[in-house]
């Protein structure tokens, strides 16, 4: 039996549609004062009742590479868990599509676990630091849906570990997402139904980044 190369098995996964490469996303925000209510609601609705809510505290670094043939730079986000020994997570996110017919925002997405040399590796490739922030919050799970309630914290450059870093705003960001292989359109509907159940605490919507102007 001949052994197949890694490239062959990867393209096999792509053509047979079991490689999750599309992210369905809904976003919203909630004020600090009301976040407790949302947490209670989520604890009741979600799967991981016995362990929930699962806390996380991640540093996300976004690196960009200028591509010669396009004016859009290639962005890669690297996430590192602070205070926990876990592999680094690298994520590629494609241009978001906001289609009126679809209930959620859809963008192509690739997640890749890496060893800790990744940031050094990317800078040697020519990537430059675009922005970085700390996300601290809680993660919930419902079926294949992932719900995060997190606080975004601004970083004084070079002081990632510093506790003095300030939150960006007086509210939490709430994200509902699913990463699924191509061709699973019912995911969006599933998410819309779940988002309905969180109203009126939080209004989860597909946010069109293009309309937000040139924010990072």
């Amino acid at each position: 039996m001949a052994i197949s190369s890694a490239r062959e098995s990867l393209s096999h996964a792509l053509t047979n549609r079991f490689l999750p490469n599309l992210e369905y996303l809904l976003q919203g925000s909630i004020l600090d004062s009301a976040v407790e209510h949302l947490m209670h609601r989520l604890k009741g609705l979600c799967d991981n009742v016995d362990t929930s809510p699962e806390p996380f505290h991640d540093l996300e670094v976004c690196m960009s590479l200028r591509q010669s043939q396009s004016n859009q730079p290639l962005l890669l986000r690297v996430r590192r868990a602070l205070g926990r020994d876990a592999p680094f997570q690298m994520r590629y996110l494609g241009q978001p599509e906001v289609d009126i017919r679809r209930p959620t925002l859809v963008r192509s997405c690739m997640d890749c676990a890496c060893t800790n040399g990744i940031l050094d590796f990317l800078s040697e490739m020519g990537f430059r630091l675009e922005f970085e922030y700390i996300a601290k919050g809680y993660m919930f799970r419902k079926g294949r849906m992932k719900i995060t309630v997190s606080k975004l914290i601004k970083i004084v450059p070079g002081k990632q570990q510093d506790m003095a870093n300030e939150p960006i705003s007086q509210s939490y960001i709430v994200e509902l997402s699913v990463v699924a292989p191509t061709g699973q359109e019912n995911v969006g509907e599933e998410m819309r139904v779940f988002a309905e159940q969180l109203k009126p605490l939080v209004q989860l919507e597909k946010i069109d980044y293009k309309r937000l102007g040139n924010l990072p």
């Binding site: 052994i3 190369s5 490239r7 990867l10 290639l74 690739m110 060893t115 590796f121 490739m125 020519g126």
Partner: protein
């Protein structure tokens, strides 16, 4: 996971690679080893177009069937600095996103594949190296799984190699282990003997890259594929073709 050593096998005059591999496989089987599947190590190199002042960078992407879910990559920034990375195999797709900056040098795609044998706790792989479907030589991989540092088991591995290959293997540690450089606390490159370090799967991959680079260089020296030789050539550390065996120099020419 244990210590792995690569050993190129010199091709005697007038014998085909398939013939030698067949012969070695028979020897292993009569020694008491068992045939345990196939293996494949492949390497693809992506080169960046040099931009104002910065030298060309090379990203070597390797896969090892012993670690099927991982992609190993090593970047060489052209100034002698290397960074190694182990990632999920989806990293391959990310590389394809950068094709406008890093272009794949398809003609240097190289691989070693063949049969895998187990003998006690040893894993022995008889690989035939091919580049662009052209046979380049025989590369033997031997792994002693229970041991994690080379200095402890080198003599064992050496005895095993000499035993079934029937050739003399130098008593010194393989050059890969003695010529590594690391970055010290001051940010300077420093010679570091690796034989007492804990062995990692990345070390196997780096050794393959070293040998693959030697095979490629041969083509570029003997064949007339001059372009880009400098960028790829920096990886091997500049040793002669046969790292372990004086007799292996020049085997590329005979194939």
């Amino acid at each position: 996971m244990g210590v792995t050593v690569l050993q190129p096998y010199p091709l005697p005059e007038g014998k085909s690679g398939a013939h030698i591999i067949d012969h070695l496989a028979k020897r292993l089987l009569s020694l008491g080893a068992t045939h345990a599947g196939q293996f494949l190590v492949d390497c693809e190199t992506f080169i960046s177009t040099p931009q104002h002042g910065t030298p060309a960078r090379a990203v070597h992407v390797l896969h090892n069937s012993e670690y099927p879910a991982s992609t190993f990559s090593i970047i060489d920034n052209g100034n002698g600095k290397q960074v190694a990375l182990v990632a999920d195999s989806i990293f391959d797709l990310l590389m394809l996103k950068m094709t406008s900056t890093f272009t794949s040098k398809k003609q240097t795609k190289i691989e070693s594949r063949g049969a895998r044998f187990e003998y006690g706790d040893f894993v022995i792989k008889l690989g035939s190296v091919t580049m662009m479907e052209h046979f380049k030589g025989i590369l033997i991989e031997i792994e002693y799984r229970p041991c994690v540092t080379l200095s402890y088991c080198w003599e064992m591995i050496r005895e095993m190699l000499q035993g079934f290959l029937g050739i003399n293997v130098a008593k010194e540690y393989p050059t890969y282990f003695t010529t590594q450089t690391i970055m010290n606390a001051m940010g300077q490159q420093q010679l570091h003997a690796k034989q007492n370090d804990i062995y990692e799967p990345m070390d196997t991959v780096k050794q393959y890259l070293e040998h693959f680079t030697n095979y490629r260089k041969h083509v570029q020296i003997h064949g007339a594929m001059g372009g880009g030789a400098s960028s790829v050539g920096t990886v091997g550390g500049g040793g002669p073709g046969g790292v372990l065996l004086p007799s292996s120099v020049g085997m590329g020419g005979r194939s």
